[in-house]
Amino acid sequence: MSTARDKEKARLFTRRALLLGGAQAALMSVLAGRLYYLQVMQSDEYSMMADENRMNIRLLAPLRGRIMDRTGTEVASNRQNFRVVLIREQTEDVERTLDRLSDLVEVPEDDRLRVLKETRRKRGFVPIPVMENLTWEEFSRINVHSPELPGIHLEVGEKRHYPYGNLFAHTVGYVGAVSERDLRNLEPDPLLELPGFRIGKSGIEKYYDQPLRGTAGTSRVEANAYGRVIRELSRQEGDPGEDLELTIDVRLQNFAVERMGEESAAAVVLDIHSGDILSMVSVPSFNPNSFTTGISVKEWEGLRSNPKNPLTNKAVTGQYPPGSTFKMIVALAALEAGVISPDYKVYCAGHTMLGKHKFHCWKRGGHGKLGLIESIEQSCDVYFYDIARKVGIDKIAEMAEQFGLGEKLDLDLYGEKKGLIPTMAWKQARLGERWQVGDTYNAGIGQGYVLTTPLQLAIMTARLANGGKKVYPRLIRNKFQSIDGLDASAAPEEIGVSKSSMQYVLKGMYDVVNGSKGTAKGSKIDLNDWEMAGKSGTAQVRRISKKERLTGVLKAEERPWKERDHALFVAYAPYDNPKYAVSVIVEHGGSASKVAAPMARDLLLETLKLDPVGNAGPKSASRLRGQDA
């Protein structure tokens, strides 16, 4: 036992212990320094990161703008969509809950399997959609029984609804889910990423998608690490989309669709002063409601394979030879160029020769000697061969363009076609061939290369009826017109055709319907104030062979449908005080005067009755009511 050694040992230990203590104190101050660095110097940065962690911004889909007709009737609206969702963690037995739900409403087996699959994949608090588009009855039945349905929740969403079904399928169009292609092509908008969000896919819905869409609202929520929402921190409602008002009148639209029945046809009714499209019809059509919820393969195949092309809007995308409806343009071109005078006459022997080629008039025996007005009235082809040759194709084309043919009319729809008005330069450039006089002959009666759309023919008729003012078609009445740079209030440009030339042509159109030899004399409106003027047209689908001419051309009804001619008719009324113009085309309709003209007449008469623009005069309206009674 050595105390000295023990004391030395103790001293060494104390020294070493103090060294250790010092080192530990130093390390502790490092920790304190680090604490200061994190919690004071970098606090702002980490606070922000903590907020980023916990706060989630959720988009709130805005209500899509409605679309109304000109009377304020909704043609595209938002309907409540009653949905059932299931939250797994709130039920002990998913299968039993679904069984109970099946007792109340029919749950399709597919949906049941999908729900069971999703409950296994998704986190317990994520709502899984079970069924959509429930009726109010089903919805309330589930609501009453909700205490027996743990985990089942009812939700009310919005879905697009087209109350008039196929009436506006082509003009208003429809909405659909955002596709990969939409995401690439459209301007970026966070709304597009929102599950279940719908955008315009065709028609007005597509053209005015931006204003209709509105802007997204946001909801800031606090969420935990697993994504469960704990609470809502703040909410900013978005702006609902703007409502649009169409120029179309739903009553007239309905009438037109019914009147055209089973035909494959198109019609456009215009206000000749403003260009307002009062009705635009393309039949057959389809039900856009099928597209908003997802169309069945069978229905889609049916639409696609239908020879009457229900999916295309024939009124603006269908291009047809105008046939004799083009003759007003040829006549005006000849009169304005001064190559003929209004009393210029031609002898029609039923055909005319150009070199070795024989050009036929539709009337086999010929019309005899005819002036301008009679030629329009009776639609003599030989007269128009003659004056077309005199004035030349380029002058005709110039006049046609003034009347809206061969160009796009800036309609508020995608896919509008421009038609074709040939010129010498066009043929050289396009086909590499010289223009032949025979080409002019064909163009003179609206055949050959000439192509127009029903909308263009309606605009042509409106510009004839309004005395040569360049009106453009309008589909939307409210402020969005300015988007296109079209100022509705600006006075339309004048074409500058002399009044007298115009008078002769219009008199010819009057006689078509009201003259004793008029091609459409069966379709006149027998009311003094509402008399109609018009012009028939037949567009040949196939050339008539020499043999057929000898043996006699088969009547339209006797030929197969696909080989029958297209029947066209353009008209306006009232003749004395023109207000409305119409163009009708019936594909493979055969006779213009028997099929297209009565349709045009009925459409105009209905328009006059409804008088969507107004000022038709109380006198006429009361008189008509008197006649009805």
Partner: protein
């Protein structure tokens, strides 16, 4: 004169011993443990169940053990030092063998109904064995290298077994704790320098043998932002919790990082992050101060002890306690890799709580028997 020479050994009655316990130290332990209860209460969104209540029960049981250990004569601990080490080593071996037999990686053995983590037992047993060994050396022997070989073997065997479990954190803790005993026993400084000098190339070499997840932890530690959703997520979220707490914190049970589950392991390894988020830097520094006092207490007891075994035992145990604290806090602050070391007395968990209370029991036993003279060669 006899008193000065440590002749109190015969007149220590149980009553005297109880009166002589470090009540200040016990109070500090209770306060620190209560901080843990509080945080566990917060972790349950303001509920004592399920964690705080269980932790309290474990703490109460641990306190009883602590008193028993504290009142046991220091010489009994001296005698038990080597047998305890041998048993702990056997248990570590048993864990290893069971792992080999095919029950997968395990860190515990079952003795009757109780699960025991041999590595926890070894933390105390190793310090006891080393204290026992150095107690038996005189000043000359401590300076001679051959005398240092047995204690190095004492360290190497359990360190190798624990590393194979694999538990890198505990391995380092054992080595560092043993190092403190070596240092306090008077092993010359240059030898430490030599060992550290040799350790660095060895570490690089050993790195090759680490498990993939251990390597990844070290790499992610160097740049946690490089892997924000993977292994770096823990450190990143912990730093966000700390930093967003600011000076005064978000308030009790108001921590967003912890209550919205962004903070991982918030009841165990990352409990300090939750505390610093809710009580801010002020709360963090108060906890530091409590730990500082606890450790200072341990040092004071070590310096005050009259026998070398008691000195080395208490400085070794308080050293391990400090290492626990330092590694855990440095880890949650992103200063060292995530090695899975709990915050002593605060983190949720029964085994480490018991180990720590036994350690404090021994430290108190050293204090109670501070004047007991133990001959260098007697045992």
């Amino acid at each position: 004169m006899l008193r000065e020479l440590g002749a109190r050994e015969t007149d220590l009655t149980l009553t005297k011993k109880i009166l002589d316990l470090n009540w200040g130290l016990i109070l500090l332990i209770c306060i620190v443990a209560s901080v843990g209860f509080m945080m566990l209460y917060s972790a349950a969104n303001g509920d004592v169940n399920p964690w705080a209540s269980r932790q309290m029960m474990r703490f109460a049981a641990g306190m009883v053990v602590m008193f028993v250990v504290a009142l046991t004569d220091i010489r009994i601990w001296l005698r038990l030092a080597y047998p305890a080490y041998a048993i702990a080593l056997l248990m570590l071996g048993a864990v290893e063998v069971m792992g080999v037999i095919g029950m997968g990686a395990r860190r515990w053995v079952e003795i009757g109904p109780i699960q025991v983590q041999p590595s926890e037992v070894m933390k105390i047993a190793l310090i006891m064995a080393l204290a026992r060994y150095f107690h038996g050396l005189d000043m000359v022997e401590v300076r001679r290298i051959p005398y240092l070989i047995p204690p190095l073997v004492l360290i190497a065997m359990p360190a190798a077994l624990v590393l194979r479990q694999p538990d890198l954190g505990t391995t380092l803790l054992l080595i560092a704790g043993a190092g403190i005993v070596f240092f306090a026993a008077g092993v010359s400084l240059w030898k430490f320098g030599a060992v550290i000098g040799a350790a660095i190339p060895t570490a690089f070499f050993a790195y090759q043998f680490l498990h993939e997840y251990q390597k990844k932890r070290i790499l992610i530690f160097l740049n946690p932002e490089s892997d924000p959703l993977g292994a770096g997520y823990h450190i990143m979220q912990s730093k966000i919790a700390l930093g967003s707490g600011g000076v005064f914190g978000k308030g009790f049970v108001q921590g967003t990082q912890s209550h919205l589950n962004y903070l991982p392991e918030m009841r165990t390894d990352f409990i300090f992050s939750m505390l610093a988020e809710e009580f801010g830097m002020v709360g963090g520094l108060v906890l530091f101060a409590l730990y500082f006092l606890l450790i200072a207490y341990g040092f004071a007891i070590a310096i005050r002890a009259r026998n070398q075994f008691g000195r080395l035992l208490s400085i070794g145990l308080i050293g391990i306690f400090f290492l626990y604290f330092f590694i855990n806090i440095a880890m949650v602050m992103g200063l060292v890799p995530v090695v899975g070391v709990p915050l002593p007395l605060v983190s949720y968990g029964g085994t480490s709580m018991l180990t720590l209370l036994v350690s404090f029991g021994m430290i108190m036993s050293v204090y109670v028997h501070r004047d007991v003279y133990i001959s260098q060669r007697k045992y």
